[in-house]
């Protein structure tokens, strides 16, 4: 029983990370109808930037904040420079550009920071905490941070003027223009925000899985599975799905299939959702015309 509790709590911690990345994916998808395949690589790059800053002597939280801001800017730049012309391109071309971006960032990260696995520091006190042995200090801290981020994002979108404008621009760009919203910049902001969220996710997960250029590939899959499970059209659903995935993955890894097959579990979930209910638990019905 203790084992299960540990797995669940651990699962919530990783779930928070998946939920964050899932949210980033869904945000970009809602606004642009594109899936950002390079989301994982961007997050990895951000994490490396953070490590560089920390190694240069900055305190953890200062490096954290700078990294988030820098990531935001990178996201905005990518949207303005690369994605804007792709708005009207056929799907294949835009997927091509995303994959190209993935490759470039992945290679650049490897080139700038080499391929050796590195450790990434955690700001949270080590060792088991309140729940004595069920969850590590970092896992608890990471859960807290990701929840904070998710709540902040939610409040931003629901209760600020800019958040409303971004939602409007995502739902109906034509009408958004007609009320004076600069839709192009809303898209760029959305990208920036997604990049910033990804950076937080990267920095939270790196202490657990260690940092190397391919760190986020698996996480991207889990995040996608979570987003799909919750409903890829629905930010809240995606978040719930992300948490659910974390728990499922951990329990399955511990009791069902062994850790070596955890990715397969994600794959099975993806296929399962798409076959049984493509719109996910909370999503709107997708058009699934054959």
């Amino acid at each position: 029983m203790e084992g299960v509790l540990h797995q669940v709590l651990s699962g919530i911690a990783s779930g928070g990370i998946y939920a964050s990345v899932a949210l980033a994916l869904v945000m970009i998808y809602q606004a642009t109808h594109h899936v950002n395949f390079a989301q994982g690589e961007m997050a990895t790059l951000s994490t490396y930037i953070a490590l560089t800053l920390i190694n240069a002597g900055l305190t953890y939280w200062l490096a954290f904040v700078i990294t988030v801001v820098v990531s935001f800017i990178i996201g905005v730049l990518i949207e303005r420079i690369l994605m804007r012309p792709m708005n009207d391109a056929p799907v294949l071309a835009s997927v091509g550009v995303f994959i190209g971006l993935l490759l470039i960032i992945n290679a650049s990260t490897g080139w700038m920071f080499d391929y050796m696995i590195k450790t990434f520091p955690t700001p949270f006190p080590g060792g088991p905490l309140l729940f004595s042995g069920y969850v590590s200090g970092h896992e608890l801290g990471a859960t807290f941070v990701t929840l904070l981020v998710l709540i902040a994002v939610y409040l931003f979108f629901r209760h600020t003027k800019l958040g409303l404008a971004m939602r409007a621009a995502a739902f109906n760009p034509v009408s958004a223009r007609l009320v004076g919203i600069r839709v192009g910049w809303m898209l760029a902001l959305g990208w920036g925000l997604a990049a910033a969220i990804g950076a937080v996710a990267g920095m939270m997960v790196a202490p657990i899985v260690f940092l190397d250029p391919n760190m986020m590939a698996g996480i991207l899959i889990y995040a996608f599975a979570g987003a799909l499970l919750g409903g890829i059209d629905n930010p809240l659903g995606a978040v719930i799905g992300g948490f659910a995935l974390g728990i499922i993955e951990n329990l399955a890894g511990a009791y069902l299939v062994g850790t070596e097959l955890k990715l397969t579990v994600a794959l099975v979930i993806i296929v399962g959702v798409l076959v049984v209910k493509p719109s996910g638990l909370f999503g709107r019905t997708l058009m699934s015309r054959v």
Partner: protein, 361 residues
Amino acid sequence: MNAAASTMRTFTLGLAVWVFAAAVPTLLLSNYHLFQLTMVLVYAIAILGLAILTGFNGQISLGHGAFYAIGAYVTAVLMYQYDVPYWATLPVSAAICAAVGFLIGLPALRLGGLYLALTTFALAVAVPQILKINALEDLTGGVQGLVIDKPDPPFGLDMSPDQWIYLFALGVGGVLFLLAWNVVRGRTGRAMMAVRDHALAAEAMGIDIALMKTRTFALSALYTGVAGSLGAIVIQFVAPDSFSIFVSIYFFVGLLVGGVSSIAGAILGGAFVEFVPNLAESISKAAPGAVYGIILIAVMFLMPSGAAGALGSLLSRFFRLGTKSGQLRVTEVGDRSARNVSPPAGVAHGARSDAGGSGRL
């Protein structure tokens, strides 16, 4: 020039190229260069499989490396564990991959472009893990993989194994390319493209979309699987980490750079995948990925129909099979986001691409 004469001309040209390829490199090139050329063929066949699915049928797959891996492992296991002769493994590999492709095609029916791309992406990421499963280690050789012998030329022919493998691959490739060309040219090809371009209309005209799409998936998987088998024979080695997500991605890049709905483009793509990493590595160790990425993005912006499309517009009709101008016309089935709309709603078109600058389309 009427259709029949044009077909004849294409065929003759293809045949001439094939004969040239059989004779000249074999006699002139070193073993190492022949090996490279053989890999170009292998990748070309793999990319041709992807072209069939994505270029001609509009289903985006970022996971074809999985079929490549399956084909490679089928061959390796049969040769290593059961002493099956190399050439006999190909039909088995083809059959298994076709079956798997069909099975994957079934849930894929539900997915529009992006979801399918994501799902196949997930599949490709999971492949190395699956290949490392402890339970199957006896069969697959686990993390270390399997080493297989290079086949000798048959009938005691006086040539090096590399030469023989090259000719063997050329033979298999020739058959497969011819088959693909026939399929694409004929009714099936037209049906495939009809489904790609306007699924609803195709359905209204009596095409069974579900069957068509799953069959296309199966055919596509077969091609890439056979390529995988050939690849295993050439390289003489299979291991889980050789089949990472990057294999799928490189095939995808090769497809787009060579020419999405172009059969000859697959050859260009194969050459791209084989030679660019070598060139890139002389620039910088980490470069292959970045070079791929940069070239891919440049192609998407400048030459969306790939090298074949660009060459094709220079060389007129010989290489452009399938679409009128070899242009990218892959549309998502069922996702009517503001891309394919007629003029009155085309306002959304213009509005979306507007950055708040000039208001111009």
